[in-house]
Amino acid sequence: MADVTITDDDFQRFREYFYRKAGIQFEPSKRYFVDKRLVERIRATGAAGFRDYFAMLRFETSGREWQALVNEMTVNETYFMREDYQFECLVQSMLPEIAKTKPRGEPLRIWVMPSSSGEEAYTVAMFLLERWPQLAEWDVEIVSSDIDTRILTQAQAGLYGQRAVQHVPAAWLQRYFTREGDGWRISRALRDAVAFTRVNLNDRAEVAAYRGYDVVFCRNLLIYFDDASRRQAAESFFDVLRPGGFICLGHSESMSRISSLFRIRKFPQAIVYQKPLEQS
């Protein structure tokens, strides 16, 4: 195959299209990154050049190539304390607001979806223990779910490499982890604090088991969905949350682009989405 080149106009067209579809804006400084991955996909699909590839991307009914491209253009990596401003927002703004109106005696319920290998759910637990003094007054359920049972087994085991824990404050690392070979094992108490469950977010019947949650973390998942699945997921999250409950998405994701069911809440630490307080 001849050398594939991405012209300035190609880049501009692709950039506009990718922003419209995925909500991710590539600045001109990312040109090299974008070109490299585009060329990889053009070669992988056997397209004759950018034009052919772009047409296929645009019209392929299955959306499979779109999926493959999104995977290439995004960095799917999770680690403890990732986008920690949202956890700050949880303990400084969301939970205090929820605690004002929620009847005492009812548990606070937090859902992390997708669980992946458990870093986010355990980070939530650590933030509650370290940064939310009111925790002593509440029962809290943390449920962490994923479609992949292998990753859930890994999450339950709670063993992580150095890279995953590199942003954990030293004092927390000491309190909640123990050294195990080259890795770090999260404490039994924290492993016991999180319920790991398998669920397919696209299966309404499965999601129907999840109701009455106060906060949902669904970060960097919807970006991988097509428009219809994304909308479906928003509908599901609406039913999962109790009125007034919050949902946190990844930094490049926007609920406003998916659904108008939720309202935007701007807290000092983060922008999150809220299910309106009550309908008739």
């Binding site: 579809k21 645009r58 548990p107 029962d139 088991a209 008739s280």
Partner: protein
Amino acid sequence: MPFIKAKPDSAAHQPAHEPTPQDYAAQAALLAAPQAHVRRAAAQALGAHAEAVPALLAAVAAEGEQPVRSAMLDALAQLAARGSEEAVSGLADCLRSEDAWLRNAAIELLRGLPSQVASVMAHLLVDWDRDVRILAVGILDQLRHERVEEWLLQLIEADADVNVCGAALDVLADVATPAALAPVTRLLARFPAEPYLEFAGALVRSRLHADAAAQEA
């Protein structure tokens, strides 16, 4: 430590007195229930009942709560995806609504139904109402269907409205192949001295020329 573990359990959230999702007549009756969450749940259940299309269409027109309307439209989209032409037509009719939210929601859903929407697209693009034609172009803007360019070219060859043609040119800037060159040229000749068409047409042509040059290189 005040953490507790609880396994999610759908049975705990399904009061015994509520009808099952399979009970069509009971669910259809609940579309008129006083509580919004009951109407929303009924709409979701009706997404599995092909006969529910007329009831859902009537209810969505009368419904005031957005989460309920959203569930009703979603149910219609599910039925459309399973082959209900009545549901596709019903969603397409929402383009005539005075309600901007309803129009936009219908556009989004129809974009997700490429093979089903083909049956109504030809009619939408010659609708007497130019606003409906412009909204139909909005569907084409994000529709994964091999006939998108063909529909747009038919439109710019025949439509007498400059705004409709301008909207079509906007989409063509993304999807045009060399087959568009002659129709775009004819369109610009039909509407001389229309600055927006000149601008959008120039963009389409420059992209086609750039594509041709890249292929020759």
